[in-house]
């Protein structure tokens, strides 16, 4: 790099195999959309598993819905939709070169994402504490299995049961509902975490003044990713919390 001056100005982020910033942005965009397509298929497997089990065991879903608190889900839905707004806003701010708004909206997105995970933490903690966990470990399934649970665990499991299910017959292998719940929301939560890491990275770069009207690709790409994470939740919320 000795004999060559570092490219300056708006072209400093232009990689050498592209002719123009526009070509570079177009390439990133097509790459990002393809990645999002693969994300949809990644979750698609889980949605299929959900559908197959729902079709074969509707009673399981009917019983299971009462364990999920729709108010928590609704709060998180509002939180994520707001965060998508601030993510979209941050792209606009970057394009306009409005660094102050950019930083503010990046922070807002990051905080809302964090709020989502805090709510999710309380939901998980409640279920795990009561023993309403996945598959073969689910406490309701093991109530009648001699020696599998301690008396304390049985008491805990029963005391936390939602009142609505008291008169319902317990479906076989109820734990599968919670497997699907935990895997789907868990994978989604992992995506939220990754999104947060990306927003921390964007904040650092925004602080350095990297972004402006000629170079805003990363803000744009991360926002696209963030919208898909939001969108997946918008499907998860009614499927799991609302339509038992």
């Amino acid at each position: 790099m000795s004999s060559h001056a570092k490219p300056s100005g708006d072209r400093r982020f232009l990689q050498v195999h592209f002719e123009t910033m526009g070509a570079q942005l177009a390439a990133s965009k097509s790459g990002m959309w393809l990645f999002l397509a693969s994300e949809l298929l990644f979750f698609g497997g889980l949605f299929t598993a959900y559908a197959v089990y729902r079709a074969n065991h509707p009673d399981m879903y009917h019983y299971g819905q009462y364990f999920l608190d729709w108010r928590m889900g609704a709060i998180n839905t509002a939180v994520l939709i707001s965060s998508s707004l601030s993510a979209a806003w941050s792209v606009r701010a970057a394009q306009l070169g409005d660094t102050k708004t950019l930083k503010a909206t990046l922070w807002l997105t990051l905080l809302l994402a964090g709020a989502f995970l805090v709510v999710k933490y309380f939901e998980y903690a409640h279920k795990i504490e009561a023993g309403y966990i996945w598959g073969g470990e689910h406490c309701v399934d093991n109530l009648k299995v001699a020696g599998k649970l301690t008396e304390h665990q049985i008491e805990h499991c029963l005391s936390a049961l939602p009142p609505e299910v008291a008169h319902l017959p317990i479906p076989e292998h109820m734990g599968r509902f919670f497997s699907i719940y935990f895997v789907m929301t868990g994978l989604h939560g992992l995506h939220v975490l990754i999104g947060m890491a990306l927003y921390v990275w964007l904040l650092r770069r925004a602080g350095r003044g990297d972004f402006g009207p000629k170079y805003f690709g990363p803000v744009d790409m991360v926002a696209l990713y963030w919208h898909i994470v939001d969108m997946i939740w918008i499907f998860l919320f009614p499927l799991l919390y609302l339509i038992g």
């Binding site: 195999h17 790459g31 298929l41 990644f42 497997g45 895997v183």
Partner: protein, 561 residues
């Protein structure tokens, strides 16, 4: 890491070079390789890794064949045998055939066929190579851990039982990671074709190899994530008893089969489409005729990629799925043969009245026609419901998929390797011995797998470590074929090795091909092109004339690298 520094590094990596410099001499030391963002170097690293995998999978195959020399098994214990056929399948499929042509040859050739300096995402390209290596190491870890005797398909409940430990977990993780590598490669290729084509090159001015890689990319991006989530669920099922796949906890093992084949059937098109792309290039160049039916070949690649998603159920005719499902899958299976046949007829029409030159790549391609023809036609018996029920899980299936997947892809891979070898290494190889090797490989292949159709028809089940004495002659013939095939492969390895050591210098365009990768010196410069070559069509041979064996072909309009 700081972005500006990274950009600076990228610039440093791509610094201007003198005209005598090529991508191999551009930088030195092992660091200049493992941190290289140059698609050509990454392609070469892939090539080495993939050839090692091929060797490993091939050694497993040889041990299997030698073991089957006698009915009671000649070499290893039954348990070892089960491990061997599982790893033979897993290594060959996940580490050789799927990444083989796209990641090694495609990586090298794709940007150059576009007249571009690199792939759209060079760092992503290097990352996908690293992921491939990590996945490969995990597969090797399986060998050292408890082993794995489930077959490469990893069907539960057997594969996820409590007694099967580390081996299965490692294999699932390895598959997941290699899958990611494949997604990133496909994504990179598609984005590159989309956004880095020169203005003068429309979609229908691209070489057909690019169409093939693009269609492959569709499958890699859309199908592979489903495999990812499947093996992830398998992993969690084994550790936490989810009850999604294991009947013990209320799970549905047939759901695993659906998920698995939703990826693994399209995956055979990930293998064959790039192979068909190579055939399209080679058959046209060595017939000295523009490819016949360009648009049909291009569109049939896309058709195969799309329809290939809808046929996975033909792996499950005996799984107990409904007969109506079976009928629909059977129909679609026949349907997907149409675009494949379109390609074959167009290749044959390209050769018709052509000036055919039997160089090594062309010899392999002629072998491809034979192997793909036999493999495709025997597929009809497996796609038909009535015959499949009898033939399911017999050696007939083994023979069929070896013909289509292995024979066809391996010969096309070798055709491509010999075709681009002068470009990659800057050296010519010994044409005579390379052709002898090619013929040995193909003859060996036929001797190995034709008898397996017969033993399968007579009821020999696949994956058995021992067999009834009446199958002995057919099994022994098969083993002899495997030895011939292996000797051909080793002879070819020797030919290429000798070429590296003391091959004649290759001209820029030794075969007289019109696509852009030949409009740059052999080996190419670091940036591929010093100036953008004129774009006159990938199969337009009128602009080329042969000077001599040593100087190869030059353009007659005065423009030459």
């Amino acid at each position: 890491m700081v972005a500006a520094t990274r950009t600076a590094e990228l610039h440093q990596g791509h610094e201007e070079t003198s005209t005598h410099d090529n991508y191999l001499t551009h930088a030195h030391g092992w660091r200049s390789w493992i941190f290289s963002l140059d698609h050509k170097r990454i392609g070469i690293m892939y090539l080495c890794a993939i050839l090692i995998s091929l060797l490993l999978g091939g050694v497993f195959a040889l041990v299997i064949r030698l073991h089957l020399w006698t009915p009671e098994g000649a070499l290893v214990s039954n348990h070892t045998y089960n491990n061997l056929f599982t790893l033979h399948g897993a290594v060959m499929i996940f580490l050789f055939i799927i990444p083989g042509i796209p990641a090694a040859l495609g990586n090298f050739v794709l940007p150059m066929q576009l007249g571009a300096k690199d792939l759209a995402f060079p760092r992503l390209n290097l990352l996908s190579f690293y992921l491939y290596c990590i996945g490969a190491v995990l597969f090797l870890g399986v060998l050292l851990a408890s082993g794995i005797d489930t077959g490469w398909t990893l069907y539960p409940p057997y594969s996820l039982e409590g007694s099967r430990g580390l081996g299965v977990l490692l294999a699932l993780t390895g598959t997941f990671i290699v899958g990611f590598s494949s997604i990133l490669t496909g994504l990179n290729f598609m984005a590159t074709v989309h956004s880095m084509r020169p203005k003068a090159m429309g979609w229908f001015d691209m070489p057909l190899f690019l169409w093939a890689l693009f269609a492959t990319g569709i499958i890699q991006v859309v199908a592979t994530p489903v495999l990812g989530i499947t093996v992830a669920l398998g992993f969690l099922e084994r550790l936490f008893h989810l009850g999604i796949f294991m009947p013990e906890y209320g799970g549905d093992p047939v759901l695993f089969q659906h998920f698995f084949w939703f990826y693994s059937h399209p995956a055979v098109y990930v293998m064959i489409l790039p192979a068909m792309g190579i055939v399209s290039e080679v058959v046209s160049v060595f017939s000295r005729k523009p490819i016949f039916g360009y648009r049909f070949i291009a569109m049939s690649s896309i058709a195969i990629a799309v329809v290939g998603f809808l046929v996975w159920g033909h792996h499950m005719f005996t799984s107990g799925q409904s007969k109506w499902t079976n009928i629909i899958f059977s129909f679609l299976t026949f349907f997907v043969a149409v675009p494949s046949a379109i390609k074959v007829f167009n290749w044959l029409a390209t050769m018709y009245k052509g000036d055919i030159r039997l160089k090594t790549p062309m010899v392999y391609v002629l072998g491809f026609f034979g192997l793909f023809g036999v493999g495709g036609l025997t597929g009809i018996f497996l796609g038909s419901l009535a015959t499949d029920v009898a033939l399911h899980d017999t050696y007939f299936v083994v023979a069929h998929f070896h013909f289509v997947m292995v024979g066809s892809v391996l010969t096309a891979f070798l055709a491509g390797l010999h075709y681009w070898w002068p470009k990659i290494t800057g050296k010519m190889y010994d044409e005579r011995w390379a052709r002898v090797a090619a013929i040995l490989v193909m003859v060996g292949f036929f001797i190995t797998f034709l008898p397996q159709f017969l033993s399968g028809l007579q009821g020999m089940p696949r994956r058995y470590a021992t067999y009834l004495p009446e199958f002995k002659p057919l099994h022994q013939l098969s083993t002899i074929g495997a030895i011939v095939l292996a000797s051909g492969m080793f002879l070819d390895a020797w030919v290429l090795w000798v070429s590296l050591r003391r091959g004649k210098a290759a001209p820029a365009n030794p075969w007289g091909a019109a696509s852009l990768e030949w409009a740059t010196p052999s080996p190419p410069t670091h940036h591929n092109f010093d100036e953008t070559p004129p774009i006159t069509g990938p199969y337009n041979y009128d602009v080329l004339e042969e000077v001599s064996e040593e100087a190869g072909w030059v353009r007659n309009d005065g423009w030459n690298p």
